[in-house]
């Protein structure tokens, strides 16, 4: 039962552990630095104030970001570095799930066994879901633990909500890269296309904040729906994000399964 799922997770055990510990270590570093930041809050705020308004708006920086742990972490980590780590993980898992196996030729070994393509797909996909879940929950939810260690005040619920949004973002990236993974039997190609797509999405989000006439471009970006400043600093939860991420996950995963069931795999 779930041999492919367990094998896939076991294969990535060391890298997942290292990656997750790295993410947690980074958060620990930021949280550990926050008391120093807090003591220099007027300097930090004036530093932010020195930025042009357009830049602050484009990168979703708030003037009072450093007043709270949530605002500070949103600006320093959860607004850019953490999503990049999550993207890297999602793309790598999606690309490796099918295209990686076809690329290596090891898919032939799996396909020769009495197991349906549907089961192969789901076990591979769910292994990705599991890894993203572990990374997201351990990294995000370690933050309140670290805050407690440094006697810092925090909103537990906001971190819990960030986990939910982070999970949805991660699963959307995983699903999209899995779709490309079943379309192209080349892991490198999937990685390349996904990197391009995510960079374009990031640019759309930035550009939409620079000019009012371009504001609608933000709807084409995952980074609009995963807004760490709103979630962490302001406690605003956009319910449309659930719908958009949910639709992306369902549609791309369904399409990926359909294509994987139908396509030729010449191994």
């Amino acid at each position: 039962m779930f041999t492919i799922f367990r094998t896939t997770v076991r294969e990535r055990r060391t890298s997942i552990l290292a990656f997750t510990l790295g993410g947690m270590g980074l958060i620990l570093l930021y949280v550990g630095l926050y008391p120093t930041i807090q003591s220099q809050i007027s300097v930090m705020n004036s530093l932010l104030a020195a930025y042009p308004q357009g830049v602050l708006k484009a990168f979703n920086f708030s003037m009072d970001a450093f007043n709270t742990l949530e605002g500070y972490l949103s600006t320093e980590n959860f607004g850019l570095i953490w999503p990049i780590m999550l993207m890297f993980l999602g793309v790598s898992l999606g690309a490796g799930a099918i295209a990686g196996e076809i690329d290596k030729g090891s898919m032939g070994l799996i396909l020769a066994q009495p197991i349906s393509r549907t089961k192969i797909f789901w076990e591979k996909y769910l292994a990705g879901v599991y890894v993203i879940g572990v990374f997201t929950i351990l990294t995000v939810m370690s933050t309140p633990v670290f805050a407690k260690m440094f006697n810092l005040s925090f909103h537990f619920g906001r971190f819990a909500m960030l986990s939910v949004y982070g999970l949805l973002l991660g699963l959307s990236i995983l699903s999209l890269s899995t779709l490309l993974s079943v379309m192209f039997s080349d892991k490198g190609r999937v990685n390349g296309i996904m990197a391009g797509v995510l960079v374009v999405m990031y640019v759309l989000k930035i550009v939409s904040g620079l000019k009012d006439s371009l504001i609608n471009l933000k709807y084409g970006s995952f980074f609009y729906y995963f807004n760490s400043t709103d979630i962490l600093q302001k406690g605003i939860y956009d319910h449309w994000s659930y719908l958009v991420f949910g639709l992306v996950i369902v549609i791309t995963t369904g399409l990926a399964l359909f294509i994987f069931q139908k396509r030729d795999i010449s191994i």
């Binding site: 294969e11 290596k104 030729g105 396909l111 020769a112 066994q113 009495p114 030729d264 795999i265």
Partner: protein, 298 residues
Amino acid sequence: MPQCYYSDKMSAITFTNLTKSFGKLVAVNDVTFSVKEGQIFGFLGPNGAGKTTAIRCMMDFIRANSGKVTVFGKDSQIDTVEIKSIIGYLPADHHYYENWNGRDHIKFVSKLRGINEYPDELIKKLDFNPKVKVRTLSSGNKQKLGIILAMLGKPKILVLDEPTQGLDPLLQNSFYELIHEYKQSGGTVFMSSHNLPEVERICDSVAIIRQGKLAAEETLESLREKSLHKFSLLFSEPVERSLFNIKDVKIVTFSPSSVVLEAKGEPTELLAVIAKLPIKDIEVSHASLEEIFMEVYR
């Protein structure tokens, strides 16, 4: 052998009008033949003839444009899971998980197939070390691993794509013994090969595929019988070349004192001519399967 739930003797594998194209290239073109239960069946053809494509259709890696493959009456695409539970498959190009050793692969495939026993005997017979990581294995050892994985749990059918490539002659012999034992225990073997002496040695029947089309389907014996005889004649007196201008007889080399001939089919007419000649020495041999093969492809 596992309990056979297909009780009556029937064709183990049947290809029916199988056609598979890749764009404009027709890799397998309307191929029909069947493999009887308990046979060792050789599937012969040069590179690009369509052997591996036909096998991949059977294994449901790729889908036919038309026609079908059935295994014990079950459709290879619709009933793929059921069929694969009775097929052990050895691909021509074996790719494994480089960081795993043989034991990891055996355990992985055993779990997927629901097999509990470890193939110690098979490992010993093939002199395979399962503790070595795959990335350090030679191609011959990778082939051994492939054979072990294909034979795990003693499947009812073995589908082997170029099974002895990379094996040294001693291991080839071990492999032939394994295949014979497997056949004697009731198994069916469908193997593709370029190695004609190998096919000649172990197969009961053959199908020859050429440019995607089936060129011949014969028992090995009938294929040999209908095919070529080679005559090497030495004369005590000079003879005329024109004596050998006989239908289905080819002059390979000629001098007034000797001739080498190839005769297709029954050489009755040639034998009548030879009987009247001043023969000093004569040697008649059956053409090898390779020569027959080349004749079919000419």
